[in-house]
Symmetry: C3
Subunit: 205 residues, 3 copies
Amino acid sequence: MRLRLRPVDTSFYDLFTKSAQHLVLGAELLAEMLSDSSDKPDVAKRMREAEHLADETTHEIVRKVNSTFVTPFDREDIYSLGSGLDDVMDMMDEAVDLILLYEVETLPAELSEQVTVIQRCAELTADAMPRLQSMKSLEDYWIEINRLENAGDKNHRRMLANLFSGEYRTIEVLKLKDVEESLEGAIDAFEKVANIVEQIAVKES
Amino acid sequence: MRLRLRPVDTSFYDLFTKSAQHLVLGAELLAEMLSDSSDKPDVAKRMREAEHLADETTHEIVRKVNSTFVTPFDREDIYSLGSGLDDVMDMMDEAVDLILLYEVETLPAELSEQVTVIQRCAELTADAMPRLQSMKSLEDYWIEINRLENAGDKNHRRMLANLFSGEYRTIEVLKLKDVEESLEGAIDAFEKVANIVEQIAVKES
Amino acid sequence: MRLRLRPVDTSFYDLFTKSAQHLVLGAELLAEMLSDSSDKPDVAKRMREAEHLADETTHEIVRKVNSTFVTPFDREDIYSLGSGLDDVMDMMDEAVDLILLYEVETLPAELSEQVTVIQRCAELTADAMPRLQSMKSLEDYWIEINRLENAGDKNHRRMLANLFSGEYRTIEVLKLKDVEESLEGAIDAFEKVANIVEQIAVKES
């Protein structure tokens, strides 16, 4: 086991965990947005508030890096991880916002499948962030995120084939394609986060 | 006040200012492009020329970093700022080019509002670049750019709601959505520039 | 001529060359996909396999950087080049996948012209990668890629004007625009690779 030459600083890990917890909430709001009985403007408002809180946590991370002389792992990786988590939130917020703006009614099944993938990614990430301190079981995390991203990719392809099947009016295709692209963007953003975690783990080993 | 250990080098600041002045010209050309009485192919030709000059300034910045031993602030931040300013120009050039290519006739009001936001961002940026030397009043700059980006975001959402309201034929929606996305891209690119300026200011404080 | 203070390590150059050779194969598959007589699902399957092999080479590059104490050029540039080459493959794979998924039948002439540009970029890149060791004739490489990117840009504009001319149904415009954007993405990704090569050459001179 490697001799730790850097002071143990728990609060970066706390901030990453807080960031990931915003993502768990965001994913729940996304699922709520897709449910028939939801008050869509209200869900969108709560998502906007969650995105602002996520933004504040990201700023805390950046301020902390800038004012910490010795960081627990590479400064660049801390920035990347912080902004990677922020990117996921932005994509989920965009998806919710478009569902509201576009007054999307017909919700293809694949949209719900994507949101389920996103919720799973969020839970795994909130679970993994505290483990950055011990570096334990992180490989399981990035392997599972990669598997989920592949599942998301299959959903995406099925949805595109469905959208262009002739079943939807072209204007609906445009709207649903935009919503789906935000969801796919969120899943890809989770994969970027997993790649950064892998990079950190490899450097620290 | 921090003792300045690096030699004072004015020419990086001159180059950033020159870059930002290209953006002021580009934003004017964008406004001209939207006016009913403009000779659109001619405006697009002048924009293409302005984009080439902006490209040259970006290359000058890169060459200067590569040949300067001690830079006034982090080498990486100089690259980022130079390419960030270049990205704004590319987005404005793309917007002008699409308006020409798509023979856009109906110009929704929100497009003009976005161009006004872009013009304001360009003026503020040309004003801020010389202040990188003294680091004075830079916070006002990035705070105002952030406010303008929020305004741009509201315009963007209003435009999308309008485009999908049923007022436009679907093929027109496609065209106008592309143009609007270039304009939104330019505003987001200004926000990236403001973030880099904030990063530089924080590190130098 | 600069005294080489770093040990000569051929295997990074071998890995970059291998990466670029995947791109040559990918570009051939892309050309095959556009041919009338091709078995499209089979070509797409072979492209998916080529993309997996390309992915493995990218991972080899990353593992090698992480486990090499003294690298032949900047560590960051090795990462950038490796992932830049990977991005080209992803774009080509996406184009092939969309042609399959969207059951694209009418293939505008400009699509073939873009694929010819992509094939040329791939050949030049596979040719240039071994030359990273000697740094010879690399300027010819990035200059020619820039010229090809400009040609690709003209094709792109012609195709957009054509797509929106009224000749195609709007749903077809949507599909062909997506395919074209993947092709343009591949060409832009080649330009990013050429920029990274230029950056490496400039730093090493």
